[in-house]
């Protein structure tokens, strides 16, 4: 094993990028060669020197401001035309369907798509036997798109596969995984704010489930309805102390939410953790620069209650 090969691969060894067999060969060589062992030691020390300086993370303020600016830009941005022209948009279609609000017993109305096969005669030929179908008649469901069209050679039979949407119904308790999945879907994707409000309201009763907490954080950060955002805050309030992700989301709402009621509630929720470094930093920014006199005054009051930092 040549020292030259070892020197060329010592960096990869320190970064854990050598293949197992190469790593073994290198270690075997270093055990016998004092020069290469010294070189490895120097490389490791250098790696430690570079790693001693921790990278600073972007501040919550910078992240919140970047997200807000992006959101504004996305409102006027357009996606590339090709897929939008060709792809059928079931979400857009679903906006035209009337949804009922979720009931207290968690009955939800949801739409699903299924594939069907059906044969039709070629136009202009004498009518053949009635078309066979494996699904309910088209009158009972709405067609959402055509999957494929094929014709047997020499035959007047055409096979068409098409998709339909039919409305289904399910019942269950909040502990049912299926009900939870549908509530999570409704909280993020429904166009009707009433349905989103009902689903978030029910989800706040299960904040210990991680996906539920993620959905509440999502609602707090992105829902366009302030009532839904307030409801999400309700569910997250108990986790501000122990869950850093919840704390950051509440801080972001305090800094950048457009609704004063949401900001006021967020301010109330971070009070128990006001001594935390990141919270203190946000409070200092709000106390100095916030447009709202109430928020400014509340931030100053909280900071006054904290011990001085040396």
């Amino acid at each position: 094993m040549k020292c030259e090969w070892v020197r060329e691969n010592i960096t990869l060894q320190v970064y854990g990028e050598l293949a197992d067999d190469a790593r073994h060969e290198l270690e075997q060589h270093v055990a016998r060669c004092a020069d290469c062992a010294a070189e490895l030691k120097v490389e490791r020390e250098f790696h430690a020197l570079l790693s001693a300086e921790r990278e600073a993370e972007p501040s919550p303020n910078l992240l919140a401001a970047s997200r807000m600016k992006l959101q504004e830009a996305l409102e006027t941005a357009e996606q590339g035309g090709f897929w939008r022209r060709l792809a059928f948009d079931p979400a857009n279609w679903l906006r035209q369907v009337n949804f009922s609000p979720a009931l207290a017993s968690a009955i939800l109305m949801v739409g699903f798509a299924g594939g069907l096969g059906i044969s039709y005669e070629v136009f202009g030929h004498p009518p053949g036997p009635p078309a066979t179908t494996k699904a309910p008649a088209p009158a009972e469901a709405s067609i959402t798109g055509i999957q494929s069209i094929t014709q047997e050679p020499g035959s007047n039979q055409i096979d068409i596969k098409y998709n339909t949407v039919s409305t289904l119904e399910t019942q269950g308790s909040l502990n049912d995984q299926r009900i939870q999945q549908l509530l999570l879907f409704a909280a993020r994707n429904n166009y009707n704010s009433g349905v989103r409000m009902d689903s978030v309201d029910l989800l706040t009763k299960k904040p210990d489930v991680l996906q539920v907490r993620d959905a509440l954080i999502y609602a707090l950060q992105y829902d366009t309805n302030p009532g839904v955002r307030l409801k999400a805050l309700d569910g997250l309030g108990g986790f501000v102390k122990d869950d850093v992700q919840v704390r950051d989301a509440v801080l972001q709402a305090l800094v950048s939410d457009s609704n004063p009621g949401v900001r006021t509630e967020a301010m109330r929720l971070i009070e128990p953790v006001k001594a935390d470094g990141s919270v203190r930093g946000v409070l200092m920014t709000l106390a100095a620069k916030d447009q709202s006199q109430y928020i400014k005054s509340q931030a100053r009051t909280m900071l006054a209650q904290l011990p001085e930092i040396d």
Binding site: A56, S66, Q79, G80, A91
Partner: protein
């Protein structure tokens, strides 16, 4: 951001990782159909890492925010052409590294002083000030040495070529595998390895007196 968890279950972490990838696939498909909320959720999965990379390569909050904005707007406009041939992670990193490389190539400043960052109001603050000191009573002498080290490292990084700096940043500070780095930079793992070797040799030469 990490959740506070006293006893991490590796099986749960793996399943959470798999659930995260499945979640991304659903979000991407929804975004491709024009669901902006799905795209915004996708952004939330990656934007902290993107902003961190942009901040450290551009050096100013304003430039980092511009790169962040450009990267995700580009992703939004082109998500229709995403074919799942690579992960979304690799795809978005590819976009942001290209933007950062453009920025580095245009940049013609040799920083000899401590890394200084400009905030939104135009005021400057030392990047090292943002690293919290966990101890109640910090050692001023140690703080000074750390600032000097940070300044020297920053100066040495400035002397790398844009590509060397990018490979080093992605490997050393973001912990990516060199194979992933190669995919992001549209090159081979072998080329990424050679670039990393050159970058570390240059940095060792610049910082030899600090060991």
């Amino acid at each position: 951001m990490e959740r506070v968890s006293e006893n991490r279950d590796p099986t749960r972490d793996r399943m959470a990782g798999q659930a995260h990838r499945i979640d991304d696939t659903i979000l991407i498909r929804e975004a491709q159909h024009g669901n902006r909320a799905a795209f915004e959720e996708l952004v939330r999965h990656y934007d902290q890492a993107v902003l961190r990379l942009a901040l450290h390569l551009t050096g100013t909050e304003q430039d980092a925010q511009d790169v962040y904005q450009d990267a995700f707007l580009k992703a939004y406009k082109n998500i229709g052409s995403f074919r799942f041939e690579c992960s979304f992670y690799t795809w978005i990193y590819r976009i942001v590294t290209n933007l950062c490389l453009d920025h580095l190539r245009k940049k013609n400043v040799r920083k000899e002083d401590a890394p200084v960052v400009k905030d939104g109001d135009g005021g400057e603050y030392d990047l090292l000030d943002q690293v919290p000191d966990g101890r109640a009573g910090a050692n001023p002498e140690r703080d000074l040495m750390r600032r000097q080290l940070g300044a020297r490292i920053s100066g040495a990084l400035e002397r790398l070529t844009p590509r060397e700096r990018m490979v080093f940043e992605l490997k050393h500070y973001h912990g990516l595998k060199l194979r992933t780095v190669g995919e992001i930079l549209h090159t081979t793992e072998e080329t990424a390895k050679n670039t990393l070797f050159r970058a570390t040799q240059k940095l060792r030469g610049q910082l030899a007196d600090m060991r």
